[in-house]
Symmetry: none
Subunit: 253 residues, 2 copies
């Protein structure tokens, strides 16, 4: 899946001054889960390549191998038309602030290269970095406990992008298991008649005056599952087992 619409390149993920190689690896893994492959690093603290990134990427090596390194954020996003900066909500920001969902919708709708920029683990993006972006992404989070780490912020943005990219490209939709359709009505009726036919001689519907209501209740209840033909057959097997046994007993008694 994750095939974006034609001419809409997937966003580039830009990590600004990331501290731990481990977190770069985790971000790569988060990206690739949702089909993002282009990573750019701005002045990674411990240089690049970083041997501790690989193990944390859990196989997303292709992302790390093609990661590009820049000295400044301005250079890293120079070829991008839409730059989104992720931050926690800040006062005094004079740019539009959107959710990851709204950003994803905008990214897949704009046939030009986008970048989503993430700050260092501890401090987040500084004001000058944010100034480069046109739009701010803020994850709507528990006001009393906001503690998203770098890879989590990346995965939420990648996930939303993937959702929108696949929706908009009208391609293979997320997995909806192919379920069998409900059994045709006559099969259901056969099962229902078998059940009520067993209950009738046992006095289940007495007093007679309440029978119509009880029948309606049972019918409602057994139409609810919308059992497919295999399930109807299974239910009939159950009933036959119970009824057959009774017949044996009756014959012997």
């Amino acid at each position: 899946m994750t095939n974006p619409a034609p001419n809409v390149p997937p966003p580039i993920i830009v990590l600004v001054r990331p501290q731990l190689g481990q977190n770069i690896g985790k971000a790569a893994r988060a990206m690739l889960n949702f089909g993002l492959t282009r990573m750019r690093l701005v002045a990674p603290r411990d240089g690049w390549p970083n041997p501790s990134a690989g193990p944390s990427a859990s196989g997303a090596d292709v992302v790390l191998e093609h990661a590009e390194v820049f000295d400044t954020l301005a250079e890293a996003v120079a070829d991008c038309a839409h730059v989104y900066a992720t931050t926690v909500r800040k006062r005094g920001v004079t740019k539009p602030v959107v959710t990851p969902e709204a950003a994803a919708a905008a990214i897949v709708a704009a046939p030009a290269q986008s970048a989503i920029v993430f700050g260092p683990e501890r401090s987040g993006l500084d004001t000058d970095d944010v100034a480069i972006a046109r739009t701010i992404i803020t994850v709507p989070i528990n006001a009393e406990f906001g503690s998203l780490n770098l890879a989590q912020a990346v995965i939420l943005c990648a996930y939303e992008w993937s959702k929108h990219a696949t929706q908009d490209s009208a391609l293979v939709q997320p997995p909806v298991e192919e379920l069998l359709p409900p059994a045709p009505q006559f099969e259901f009726d056969g099962m229902f008649d078998q059940l009520t036919g067993m209950l009738e001689p046992l006095g289940y519907f007495e007093p007679e005056i309440r029978k119509p209501v009880t029948m309606r209740t049972l019918r409602t209840m057994f139409t609810k599952p919308a059992w497919n033909h295999l399930e109807v057959r299974t239910m009939r097997g159950i009933l036959t087992t119970l009824a057959h046994h009774r017949r044996i007993r009756e014959r012997n008694s």
Copy 2:
């Protein structure tokens, strides 16, 4: 934020046989970021409490402190009306498979307790665990690189729930026909035990070797209707009628 609509409790997060305390901590952190606080643990490998959970929770201690421990998944979800099992896509599953988004929409719309169940880090949920759930959640993921860890799966579900809970609470709810919620799991289990207990002595499950598969088929089939407590009671009435009759016959025979 994360104010769910009135009478819609946030879902309980159930971790089945989690291996590392660290991952339990990370799951707690992921939950609290999006306002989820109720965690249940089924047979955590290293017991509970686990000293390595706290540091990974990054302050989400309130979740860990109130975590409840159970021996089996059945017990852990006994009081839940809607049980969702998270899995990667599997063949031969005969339950509805939904995205985290669709599950979140359903959860906030249903005024009854939901649970979202996650399997062990390596193996995921086994077939018997999945059989307990009514619905499967699968994150639509890169088909060539699916590598979500436990906390990432949790955060995506928590994030979607939070999005839907806040969206919906911001609105005046349209009048929805008041349907009874599905019966709690323990009522369902009682009914199911009654049915299988009747079928067993009649040889329904023979040959013995096929019994686990047959049991799973039946469980899947009877979880499908999501019967409410009145319907469960009706089904038990039906079974009792059939069984009682047999007992009379048996006594007389």
